[in-house]
């Protein structure tokens, strides 16, 4: 059995807002019988057409697809339309207390249906998903744009993750190389942007901002590298240019930890925060 949260099971057993709004302002239909899951979302706006007053859904799919759809309608009710446009699949997953990694595509289906429904309201365009742009995965009809979106929104780094999030690559597998190229491109762009921000950063960083940036860099750039080898790192203190960290897990007993300290931790912090940082290990 899947390790579903209590909230997932609750929304599966007692789905909220089931049905269709007959005179809906927005309609979004995604998925198909062939794909194994599908969602039809309808919403109704207030008089001023600014706020969502009601949302209903119909879903064909597994327990987490039904729960994700139910969660989406609960999130949307009462929300301003401009805020609804910023709802991500992560918001849906978080609302449910998380979803198993292989089921994240259920939350993405919710976000997609919402996008189609809002586009339907704004442009009067069809309420069905149309494949625009280059189709990368022909088995599940996933476009380059969609893959870029899930990689960016969820900070994905592997093809398997992309398959879990939007199904691309889950059929014949021929598109896996294309997916890998998209991941590499998005991640490169992200790094370049982060580096550019960092390069212009130090001059106008306050002490607090600087500590936050160090913390972010440790979490985003350094920790995943160490965790890959069963290690971990903790930020202990920042004192002027001195950054004090402590190694955890495998790193704590690693005889090359001092090289990791200099070549990974210090190098990354200098790259993303400031060239004058010196990193020390807290041996206490």
């Amino acid at each position: 059995m899947w390790n579903y949260t209590e909230r997932v099971m609750d929304h599966f057993r007692n789905p909220r807002n089931v049905g269709l709004i007959p005179d809906a302002d927005g309609v979004g239909e995604v998925g198909s019988l062939a794909c194994g899951d599908a969602l039809k979302l309808t919403f109704k706006l207030d008089e001023k057409k600014e706020r969502i007053v009601d949302a209903k859904f119909q879903t064909f799919g597994c327990a987490s697809a039904i729960a994700s759809s139910s969660a989406l309608t609960e999130i949307l009710k009462g929300m301003r339309l401009e805020d609804a446009e910023r709802v991500t699949n992560q918001n849906i997953a978080e609302f449910l207390g998380g979803l198993p990694e292989q089921k994240m595509h259920c939350s993405v289906m919710g976000r997609e249906a919402l996008e189609v429904a809002i586009a339907n309201f704004r442009t009067g365009r069809t309420g069905k998903k149309i494949l625009a742009g280059k189709v990368v995965c022909t088995c599940f009809g996933v476009t380059e744009e969609e893959i870029e979106r899930v990689v960016g929104d969820n900070d994905l780094t592997t093809v398997d993750q992309v398959t879990n999030y939007c199904k691309a690559g889950g059929g014949c597998g021929h598109c896996k190389v294309d997916i890998m190229n998209i991941i590499d491109r998005i991640q490169r762009e992200k790094k370049r942007k982060a580096a550019a921000d960092a390069a212009t950063g130090p001059r106008r960083l306050t002490g607090l901002q600087r500590i936050r940036l160090i913390e972010e860099t440790v979490n985003r750039e350094i920790r995943p590298l160490l965790q890959r080898d069963g290690g971990d790192i903790e930020l202990i203190d920042v004192d002027g240019n001195r950054v004090v960290v402590s190694f955890r897990g495998m790193c704590a007993q690693c005889h090359v930890a001092e090289f990791t300290l200099r070549d990974v931790v210090q190098a990354k912090l200098r790259e993303f925060v400031s060239e004058d940082l010196v990193v020390e290990e807290d041996k206490a």
Partner: protein, 387 residues
């Protein structure tokens, strides 16, 4: 809540008689049958008794039974052992609906440069015999075709198939993991060279299986190690598991003889016709005339299998599904796809598999409760047969 266990093709309840039989081998007689002392030697005889019981269940000679760790190991041992014994490039013929325990090693062999042919099936799950004949005419091959399909219960005509393979000078293996104990099997009448079986599918324990290897079959040892099993399979014997398998085989033979599986078949038929009558837009997957007595594979159209299983689980009913979501993959089971089940029905296929421990009450409970579950999910679904 009462447990209604209808997932016996996944695993079965260990028979109380099996548990009683293994008990002394967990407590008192824990020696190693290979040891050169009387204490260890005491467990050698029970292992041989178990071997004789397994042999008797399938009409083999005890010397032709090799105990293994599971059905998957038996399949690997048979196919990879036969390919290795063939020295050089081998030709392997299987069907597209084999269990992964057969398909995965075959794909491994294909990558290693051997030729593997996967035969298709028709919509009822029956083998493409014309294509099979064509392939056999191309020369000797190592053939592995299942006796009964685990998802649909559909039977391949093994007697005919084995005869054809032997006439063509090939090696014949069958994965009979789902068939042993449910059908009378007699290798003295069906000329298979090798046959896989697994204890936990016939009310034995998990972690023990067997491979029947007909005397004279050329087979390279797969699991290399000690001299156990006459040098055919290394590793200290799982004595409690083997004793349990022997007991399970003895019980299965008795139940087959006294018509117990006919009772299971009538329960299955009652469940199947009951569900088809109670729930609209349902269909049976697989040729109903040539099936295991215990298996029903039913598609509930326009709804999805995992959701059905979770609702069934909430009322204590255990079954399984060929839907994409239950497997962790994104496509419905390879068996359902190979049969060309229409996509309206592929994701909503549910397998009910019974055993001799099921009762009429179990079946009637499911028939009574299923329509509400189907109705509930169909109300949620944007698809319908009657727009």
């Amino acid at each position: 809540m009462k447990l209604v266990y209808l997932d016996n093709n996944a695993t079965t309840q260990p028979a109380p008689e099996v548990i009683a039989a293994i008990q002394p081998f967990l407590t008192e007689h824990w020696g190693n049958p290979s040891s050169m002392h009387a204490f260890g030697g005491k467990v050698a005889a029970p292992v041989e008794t178990a071997r004789a019981k397994v042999a008797a269940l399938i009409g083999a000679d005890p010397s032709e039974i090799v105990f293994t760790g599971c059905g998957t190991e038996s399949d690997n041992m048979a196919i990879r052992g036969a390919v290795d014994a063939a020295h050089g490039r081998a030709r392997v013929i299987v069907s597209r609906v084999e269990h992964p325990a057969v398909l995965s090693p075959c794909r491994y062999l294909q990558q290693a440069g051997h030729s593997v042919v996967e035969l298709g099936v028709d919509e009822g799950g029956s083998l493409d015999m014309a294509r099979f004949e064509e392939e056999l005419e191309k020369g000797p091959a190592i053939v592995s075709l299942m006796w009964a399909n685990n998802e649909t219960g559909v039977l391949f005509p093994l007697r005919k198939i084995a005869r054809m393979v032997k006439d063509a000078g090939g090696v014949m293996h069958t994965d009979a993991v789902q068939a042993v104990g449910k059908l009378p099997i007699d290798v003295s009448k069906v000329p298979v060279d090798m046959l896989s079986l697994s204890a936990h599918k016939l009310h034995g324990l998990k972690g023990v299986g067997a491979l029947y290897v007909r005397r004279g079959t050329r087979l390279q040892t797969f699991l290399l190690g000690g001299h156990q099993e006459g040098g055919r399979r290394g590793g200290t014997e799982n004595v409690p598991g083997i004793v349990g398998l022997g007991k399970a085989a003895e019980l299965a033979a008795a139940h087959l003889a006294d018509g117990e599986m006919d009772r299971v078949a009538s329960l299955r038929d009652r469940l199947e016709s009951g569900l088809l009558a109670a729930c609209p837009d349902t269909r049976v997957n697989g040729d109903r005339a040539h099936r295991l007595p215990n298996t029903a594979n039913i598609s509930f159209e326009f709804i999805e299998g995992e959701a059905i299983l979770y609702h069934l689980s909430d009322i204590g009913v255990c079954a399984s599904s060929g839907s994409a979501c239950t497997s962790g993959s994104l496509e419905p089971s390879h068996v359902i796809r190979a049969m060309g089940v229409p996509f309206t029905a592929a994701h909503g296929s549910i397998r009910f598999s019974l055993s001799r421990y099921n009762t009429r009450d179990d079946v009637d409970f499911v028939i009574e409760r299923m329509p509400a579950i189907v109705e509930r999910l169909r109300k949620l679904s944007p698809f319908t047969a009657h727009p």
